[in-house]
Symmetry: C2
Subunit: 398 residues, 2 copies
Amino acid sequence: MPQVRFDTHTISAGALKQLTVRLLEGVGVESRDARLVADMLIEANLRGTDSHGVARLPHYMRRIEQGSINPRPELAVQEISDSCARVYGNNGLGQVVMQRATVEAISLAERSGAGWVSVAGSSHCGALAYYGLQIADAGMIGLVFSHVDSMVLPHGARKPFCGTNPICLTVPREKSGAGQLGSGALCLDMATSKVPWNTVANAATEGVPIESGWAVDAEGRDTNDAKLVSSLYPFGSYKGSGLGLMIDVLCAVLSDSPFGPEIPAMYGDLSEPRRLGGLVGAIDIGRFVPLERFHRRIAEMIHLWTALPPSEPGGRVLFPGQPELEHREQRLRDGIPLGHNLLRELESLAHQHGVGPLFDQLVLPDARPGAPHIIARDVQSVLGSRSNEDEARVERLN
Amino acid sequence: MPQVRFDTHTISAGALKQLTVRLLEGVGVESRDARLVADMLIEANLRGTDSHGVARLPHYMRRIEQGSINPRPELAVQEISDSCARVYGNNGLGQVVMQRATVEAISLAERSGAGWVSVAGSSHCGALAYYGLQIADAGMIGLVFSHVDSMVLPHGARKPFCGTNPICLTVPREKSGAGQLGSGALCLDMATSKVPWNTVANAATEGVPIESGWAVDAEGRDTNDAKLVSSLYPFGSYKGSGLGLMIDVLCAVLSDSPFGPEIPAMYGDLSEPRRLGGLVGAIDIGRFVPLERFHRRIAEMIHLWTALPPSEPGGRVLFPGQPELEHREQRLRDGIPLGHNLLRELESLAHQHGVGPLFDQLVLPDARPGAPHIIARDVQSVLGSRSNEDEARVERLN
């Protein structure tokens, strides 16, 4: 896994959430929605998915100010049958729209055993795990898909078509822990690109070469120079390439939204709505097998899986979602590391919106400002020392 | 793509299907089921997926003779709701069981917009595309999953856990062509291992080394010696590894069937039922967006996708399922290439079951026996010159 070393401050999750709520309210987001979005962003940070955490907040605020994200959308939910529905997001924050779809999918699956909710008129919705884990916590299997603008090469092509189109599959492995989102779940939440956009951005920032086979330049040539990267390879060759395309079909064509190259770029014209689609599915496990039996079998499965001999001495065999759970535990205890540049940006926004004192409560008293913090996971963004160009790279990831 | 060169005869699809029907009837399979299974096997051969074609017929017959596959199963279909059902296969041929589940999933989706059918008591069901394409031909999105016994390493482990657990996603791209299964569909049908088992078997047969990163020996060490291979790497590192595990959950845990290491090996005790599970899903597109609009948008998407500039001069950017469609067209015209050893096996079975004359009609009059035939796709099996050991390797693939 690529590493990047940068200076951070360690931030209290609670104070960060408070500040995020107030900043979103400051640009007109309804209080309930602001709390929801703040919870999602901080949850992503806690789980180590910093690329989908508060680092995206300034971007959302800019889009709201420039009119492409509607801070007070009127969502339209159309139930088609006891197992199918459509949600139209009215260009609201993606988190608000996908959350509505998730609640609807769970509700349909409670009623009929299965729910599929097709989403249109949405925007960037953050990490899919948040939605999938709620479905798992409801005793269901979650299948969540989203798509983004074009930045991944189809297998055998030298120009991109799909985005990093992620898939998230979740299943409960035990009764959900009180207040601990998805603490009792398996969660596979993965992009269909080979490496995340921000791993390349990290390398560009640090001035180190990237491996061959990760990405190409504007001419479609494999490149080791991170600064020249234009598009990413799909993961798993033609398999990830095909999966990314099928996810675009599920998100875009089923909801009659733009696909791949048609999708307005996240970091393009900030006054143009993204018109993103999505698909949220839920299967009520208890209809097929008693939920307690299911939990017991998953526990047996995970016991055997994690007890397998590791390929490297001292290594571990992790289940899908385990790294995120471990991050969550550690960061709830020790705080969330945020880079200096992001903090400066949040500080400026806080003052601009009259909540400067809230910002001042962010940094934990025992944090050692300036102490190097090693981020070992490739979901980590490069907030510590990014330039505007890096920001563009990081933004495109999402 | 790995290649292997061996001698074949070119066989007429029609005659091969006739022979297959009679051989299955010869071991007690009901006539209707025999026609169904024969159609599936020959369809797999036509689509170039020879590993899932008639090469598997002798194995099925042996399992029927040894009692682990029930040639006349009483399938139990339990409808749980308008969108959920369970199918118990009574240890029937996997094709018969999964076909029943597919018909049920389509029927549920016609009724409610969504169908999920959980399968238990099944056996090896062949290539998933056959089921997914029927769902696409019904104007629906197909999501089909199956699992097999343990032979793929989890990411970071040196012992296997899951099988090559495939996922198949299908969507219609135009009105289905009359009598041409899935001719108007996108079809992603992929195993979650990095390379198919039979690519390794090919290399073993041909005595050529395999690439590092494909497979490991019994001690979990990466090996270049195909003859030492014990387990395969997952495709796409931790992503394919996690996907394989989630597919095992969908197939095994939801249906209360054995998972991974618990599953009786395909090539183990032939008198022991496999007790395989599966999951078949269907989404009725017309509930969400007019089907004609969907077709038109998919056509636009595929037009743009296939028109992308190739990474290699003269290369092509193919859509999921396109290679199989092209194989099908060519083999319908020119016949199906089968290896000598498989033909000898079929000849012996034909005589044993009193249908020798049917065997004699197999070889096309203009075929040139002994002419080398280059198989360029890694789904090709090594039927031309396999030993019993190779047979075991090839069988395990499925």
